[in-house]
Symmetry: C2
DNA sequence: TAACTTTGTTCATCCAATAGACAAACAAAT
DNA sequence: ATTTGTTTGTCTATTGGATGAACAAAGTTA
């Protein structure tokens, strides 16, 4: 790769757009200070961005003793992205503006895990979403789909254990039917990206997102990028072994982290303990809230296992931030302290500097937003030619 | 950060230099094809690089039917880097040319682990190395020091367990005494960088280097860069737990990978088994070569533990290449098959695509070379002003 | 109303890449 | 030896960015 003036210009324009995107509302003066370009250059590039309809002028700042500065705002309705979260018994889709705000959404339950049935519902859902996209200069900028399983870099679902799907080229399938950009990701990576792009984590250069639902996956952000590995299978740390010859895992091996720290493991243990069938996470939380000591203890243990695995990740990554997301956050108040205590007693003092463990505040919509956020980011990164 | 023409020019010049560095000998035509710049531009920048003494013209290529092209060679003697490997009972230092070849080296045993004694020896070693640097345009481009412990980004040794050093600002100490650039790294990161820069791994974008000696550390290369984490403590995967409540580790906790897969663990087990004191890795290898079944079995078990930890790393990183280095490679023939078998039976089929596990071929000099390679790379990256 | 401050625009200048013309070096055929 | 064609390398005018400086516009304060 080589540089030329066009690339340089694009880079500067991109810097300005990124800055406005992250700050939402800024003056030309702030851009000059932040990016380091000169007045004339900023003025030219800002004019172009306004012509591109990616930003708009919006009101004036207070005066600091002279002419008031014209404020600039990111144009969040320049286009809209579709995001779909494929769950094990549900489908959730939403239309997001470029700021990640929901404009329209739809949740439906899918009574089977058959691929055919899912595909039919997905197509219907996409049609429904498309009908509800407001008119805008760029219209639909793309579709992001999050899958509970391993996806390779070509958008092929290699394996989705709980859906029992294998080797299905979902991106190809959708590309044949729609002509906007389509990006397929796994749910942990989607969650990680949503946190990175939309939760003020743009300054965090390395971040781990733990998606703890039925299973456990990790989304890894390193140096401001999602880290996918060679093929796209990074973050399968749920199947890292934390106890040799330990509990049987759904993957067939023994002692995986996921076999101890997941909704599946929790419910498995609770079923055994309470001798009841068909327990749900929500029921267990209710029991804990009612003061059921054994259930509270169970949550504590799960917290211990989660914490132990996080410790392993800290040893390996020395991350800046760890965010816990997905269904487990409903049990936050019963597991948080136990997680933090475990991390504290299993790391060395210097490993505890400059890092934080927190729970996601994006809740249910996080995965669909994350799926869409890849598309939004792609759009923001390359809107010029 | 913003772009301007000077930065653009520097970028292009850098691309050319990097290409010549990696290929060692190229024609202008190859540069034009590889980098994508035009004839005149390449000619100008190459002229500058020759004036900078970073490359030299060296012979002519065969003709392909017209004028023969002038070949360009990286000037490996433009300057020299010093590399020091601080071991637990030895000090090894070397003078490297910019291609990473040893020009002079020195190994000395240090009979104590006292910091004061080490520092004295280190200062003497540096003086000795300096006296043996050949005259050259850039002279000494810097000093790299590799430490068997955790080092933060400011070059402070936070903890070196086997030396019992804590919180010592070695970079500050050396900076007060020498005025060339100084870079402190831990031994796993040094090994990883040596493999990346000097073993034709420049195309590998993510690579894990396992330093298995007394302890176990991991050097991580992601997206062509060493990954240090927030503070510099990444790669302490030796203290990731693979067996809850398992063997006591030197760190005070139980079940760390290092407690199963390291020279320390191996010798500990062998001592127990053979009821002999003062065993060494070399002795065990001799026993295995003589056909001692129990010792051979012991190596196999160690291979199993190493493989299990590597599996965990594969789950998390989906890496392109894993290189095993440091003292354990002496036992390669007794552990390799067991490592590969373990990985094979513990990963899923798709995780076995596009990756390779191999043993380092750099041997003893790897760590010092790695330490120096940070300096060499820094020099190659920023020789202009 | 005048003086001053800050913001935003216009225009000539600078600089690196580049296209295209040209020169140099070589092989192969005549 | 000469001619022709090909490849390498250089020279020069042009292009398209950033930028400094002058200037215009829009404020505040006395």
């Amino acid at each position: 790769m080589s540089w030329n003036q066009q690339i340089g210009k694009k880079f500067n324009k991109q810097q300005i757009l990124n800055y406005i995107f992250s700050k939402r509302i800024v003056s030309r003066g702030e851009i000059i200070e932040e990016i380091g370009l000169k007045k004339a250059t900023v003025a030219n590039l800002v004019t172009e961005l306004i012509e591109d309809q990616l930003i708009v002028e919006d009101g004036k700042d207070f005066s600091t003793g002279g002419r008031r500065s014209q404020l600039l705002r990111f144009n969040e309705t320049a286009g809209f992205a579709l995001g779909i979260d494929i769950g094990v018994n549900y489908l959730y889709g939403a239309v997001f503006n470029l700021k990640g705000e929901i404009v329209f959404d739809n949740l439906q339950l899918v009574p089977t895990i058959q691929l055919d049935a899912y595909l039919k519902s997905i197509l219907n859902l996409i049609e429904l979403l498309m009908e509800n996209v407001p008119p805008s200069p760029f219209s639909i900028v793309g579709l992001g789909v999050a899958v509970p399983g391993s996806v390779n870099k070509d958008g092929v679902i290699i394996i989705a254990p709980n859906l029992r799907w294998e080797d299905f080229d979902i991106r190809g399938y959708l590309r044949n039917r729609f002509d906007f950009p389509i990006y397929i990701s796994n749910e942990a990576n989607a969650g990680a990206y949503a946190e990175y792009i939309f939760e003020n984590n743009k300054e965090t250069s390395n971040l781990l997102y733990l998606s703890i639902g039925i299973g456990l996956g990790v989304g890894i952000i390193i140096d401001h990028n999602i880290y996918l590995g060679v093929n796209g299978y990074s973050g399968e740390s749920g199947h890292a072994i934390i106890h040799m010859n330990g509990r049987k895992c759904t993957c067939g091996r023994n002692g995986c982290w996921e076999a101890y720290a997941s909704e599946y493991a929790l419910i498995h243990d609770a079923t055994y303990m309470l001798k009841e069938r068909e327990l749900s996470l929500e029921q267990l939380i209710t029991l804990a809230e009612e003061g059921h000591e054994d259930v509270i203890q169970l949550f504590k243990e799960t917290g211990y296992y989660i914490g132990l695995g996080i410790t392993n990740l800290i040893q390996t990554f020395n991350p800046e931030k760890i965010i816990i997301g997905n269904r487990i956050i409903k049990a936050q108040k019963f597991i948080e302290q136990s997680i933090l205590d475990t991390i504290n007693s299993n790391t060395m003092h210097f490993q505890r500097d400059n890092y934080s463990v927190q729970f996601s505040t994006l809740k249910d919509r996080a995965i669909a937003l994350g799926a869409a956020s890849f598309i939004i980011d792609q759009f923001i990164q390359l809107p010029f030619d």
